[in-house]
Symmetry: C4
Subunit: 207 residues, 4 copies
């Protein structure tokens, strides 16, 4: 009896530190992006000078929302999870790696007025992050079992299947017209902004 308690506590602490580390990295990613809004590029002290940071600003807004979505979903997924292990730690780091490239892709895209190649790279980073998230989800489900609450909560995961297709389309279309790609990226963000009620509903059902 005591052993189970200890184990439970130990494993939930482990999950806690995983969350804390992820929160730290995601908080830093979401914040350092703003460093790309460089004052030096706003030559002068009038509003016209601000126009030079308009494109980086738009790119920043989009990326802020994406990182916010990832934090939100990561938060819900780990809330449903009950424990962690080595494979989950590394699947999580893999996700953080791709998210850490978002600031670079954002800056390159923003500084080059949403040109084709940067827009394609931005889509590629989003695609890799989506794949990494999907892998992390799979690793967590494997740990908890196919019949677990978590596995059920994930359900058919339509959003998760649609997003990569949009990214791939965005990458391909960026050489036709980068604004179509950006439209697709915005569309995916909007889809995810709708609260992910799946897990919340199930958790409430259980309680």
């Amino acid at each position: 009896m005591r052993q189970r308690d200890f184990r439970g506590k130990s494993l939930s602490m482990e999950k806690g530190r995983l969350e804390a580390f992820s929160d730290g990295v995601i908080a830093i990613i979401i914040t350092i992006m703003v460093l790309e809004l460089k004052v030096e590029e706003a030559h002068g002290a009038d509003f016209a000078a601000l126009s030079h940071v308009w494109n980086p600003f738009l790119a920043y807004v989009l990326s802020f929302i994406y990182i916010g979505i990832y934090w939100n979903n990561h938060h819900h997924m780990l809330q449903a999870a009950e424990r962690s292990n080595g494979a989950i730690l590394w699947a999580n780091l893999h996700l953080l790696f791709w998210l850490s490239l978002v600031p670079f892709a954002t800056a390159w895209m923003g500084e080059n007025q949403f040109a084709a190649a940067p827009v394609a790279l931005y889509g590629a980073v989003l695609l890799m992050a989506a794949i990494a998230y999907w892998m992390l989800q799979g690793t967590i489900i494997r740990e908890h079992g196919r019949d677990s609450l978590l596995a059920q909560a994930m359900g058919r995961d339509l959003k998760g299947k649609l997003s990569p297709l949009c990214y791939i389309a965005g990458i391909g279309l960026s050489f036709v017209n980068p604004w179509i790609s950006c439209g697709l990226y915005v569309l995916v963000a909007l889809i995810w902004l709708v609260p992910d009620a799946r897990i919340e509903r199930l958790l409430k059902g259980r309680k």
Copy 2:
């Protein structure tokens, strides 16, 4: 009975991670601002060289106090809150977004010797952050109910109503004399520095 405990724990953990993430982002915002005090601008190794970073330093002090006030109030508001939900998470991210623009606005204002346009932009960012804070407060109150301790604690919220008016006045007056605007921003900071005793008093009353 046990279910209620579990639910309470789960929801307070959720609140805990919201606080932790906000703390991380606010801690980074308050600290990266200091990177705008650039050593390269202090050409030379005498005190005269420091005069080049005097205006950025003043702007840094003001923004440090503002971010400190936001952290403090955020801290008190969430302490009184008992649970979180998806809408609160996004209202919170919305607040963090506007706060994340404070370092840019601070740097632009500091580097341009408190010129009109940067001072107006600084006020606009403060205004948007105040609106975002007010929205977050409303979202939390909606979750807890109009009769909750939190809703009572917010009370008439004179400060919260006065601040946006000062920011709007500051934005408008920046083209007359930016120092009047700065005076208004300092005034609002001073008003908030007076400890927000409302919540503390009510919490003590309850206990």
Copy 3:
């Protein structure tokens, strides 16, 4: 009885978030200092190129130790503290403000080969941080009462009284010979590196 439990929990959570925020800010301060070791200044790819970052590196080592000492002492002081309040939050932010200037002072000193004015400024920032720490300590003791464990633990606080004198001497002597000042700063760091056994001993005695 239950009320007291609730209050204790609420107040220790408040202390917990104060610690978490301070940890975040201190962790960022200690880490962004390394950004001043700029690769661009190491022109070339041989070890001779590294000599250009030698002085910034020495300044970094000293500041890393100082920030480490502050984290360590802050950690012990808050461990002995039992609760927090508004005045403590602001006294803590005041300390973090002065610590946040350490990276700038470190960079200015390192880039200018430990010249007189930067060495004096470095000492001034250390002096202000020491005063802020002393004010924070006083605010915490006031909250806990003169007879509290914390107040006794602080005792005569010889180190805390000696350090500001060394900083003041360092500031004054920097215009005679900055290396004497640096020697004094190193001396103070060494004094503090000796583990602050006061609180630890008392805590053990109580238990």
Copy 4:
């Protein structure tokens, strides 16, 4: 009985804050490295421009994995630890110091196309971090006793003994052919990526 509870809680909180601070610093280190992928170096908006950041990117990937390994192992070691003390706090800061130099070493290596001296410096930083980790491990074991679970879990520690030898070989061989050194660094990373099952297995045995 109550005293033991209090002590246990107090000491595990102390450990908790040590973990939180380390998590913060490591999260910042792993994230600021990405700032070295500078958009300005990707002159232009086509994929050819990206080739200028290819070497920094490779160096970033390697360092991300190394910092991830350190976080992972640090995590497991502290999970097995039951309490902290002043010596452990400083041994931990010593490790964080060397890890904080990884971004600089990474950037210098990446910007200079893996030239001899930067590759040697990179190995030297890894070597010092390994030594610091070994010292931290020793300090923790000393606190817990030679017969503790932790001491047994560390066992013969083949990986820990092999890694420094590889780093030393890498440093020496960098002046023959830096790519051999890089191969050695990659090899060590791969060895560590295999999950450190020692502690996990023992913990499971105990439970």
